[in-house]
Symmetry: C3
Subunit: 151 residues, 3 copies
């Protein structure tokens, strides 16, 4: 913890570098500090994983866009070329509202910078949400990674 | 938001059209209206993503089925041919209980229709759940898609 | 329900048998019994799905490790060879704290046994969490699997 999981439509795979986005978001997380100067996210616990979907459907698949002259019109069996990226950060509770807002806005700004070309050239929806591990009743950890970052 | 994420065992990939299911569920979501006649889910925010697992195990993998003459008996290293489909819809809170029930039942009915042949011919478990974004502490959005559907 | 979803960095794919882990965790779930001797998890509802990420970033990607002589140092565009495995079990609420703790510890111990070689030979972080379906407002089920395990 924390970790960021990115789910996205595969129609953007060739248009953007998702490994670079993972790295950029991890670096952004590691660059966050709270009111007392402590890192918001621990080095060894910062992970970003991205998954293109095998199958998808977004909005009406392009019917309305086609009616408006957008050439992405849906045809039978075609999921359309609308794109979607969902970024979910799961972390433990306990951080202040101010810290969460600053970190969330920094991650959203970095995401916006990454997708600026796609936002300008295609139809894409992006949602970034942070959850505080709701309903969690067990938390177990094993690591040979954290010790590398501890004194 | 909302979005529906489908996780499933890859042993059904060749037996059913998951892109068609994504489209059918998106269309079902877009066909829901609340008590006041407003769409339950916004056009530009309706997304369905489906992911076959790379590895899996379901129930006992077929041991008990084999004992009963089912030829799907598990052998060492074989995950078995039991199948599982998990559909999770995440949406913001605020919809009425009645609206949620109607929408959930419509999505479940559409899912049942899609999988009717597999339910009849194979051993498959299907779960559809709707969550109201529990524990969410940050929500950021970027979109070049929504404007297409707004006046 | 319950189901266990495993998200992991693809750099461990060739080093460990994730199908075997899925089977081991399902078997561990099926071997749990509560205070009254009843199974904690129903046979027909026990599923484990594992997903390697297509793209990822973990911690600093290896910069600090490199500074310390670890040869996993990050280079531009390289996500690094730090590994991460996230195991999330989602189940309905209602089980006792004691039952959850015993089941969680059993699953964590089985996970530890599976990854012992990797924990010893590489830099890997593993997190196992159990959630009680927070925020769930609709639950629908279809199954041709459960009946196989009912009298």
């Amino acid at each position: 913890m924390p970790h960021c999981v990115i789910l996205y439509t595969p129609n953007i795979e060739a248009k953007t570098d998702m490994t670079a986005l993972c790295r950029a978001l991890a670096d952004t997380m590691l660059a966050q500090f709270d009111e007392s100067g402590k890192p918001v996210f621990p080095m060894g616990g910062t992970r970003v994983l991205a998954y293109p979907a095998a199958h998808f459907a977004v909005a009406d698949g392009g019917i309305q866009g086609r009616a408006q002259g957008n050439d992405s019109g849906r045809i039978a069996g075609d999921p359309g070329d609308y794109a979607f990226v969902y970024l979910n950060i799961r972390m433990a509770s306990g951080r202040s509202d101010a810290t969460i807002k600053i970190a969330g806005n920094a991650l959203l700004a970095r995401t916006k910078a990454h997708f600026a070309p796609l936002l300008a050239s295609s139809r894409i929806g992006i949602t970034l949400q942070i959850d505080e591990s709701p309903g969690q009743v067990f938390d177990g950890k094993l690591s040979s990674l954290h010790p590398l970052f501890q004194k």
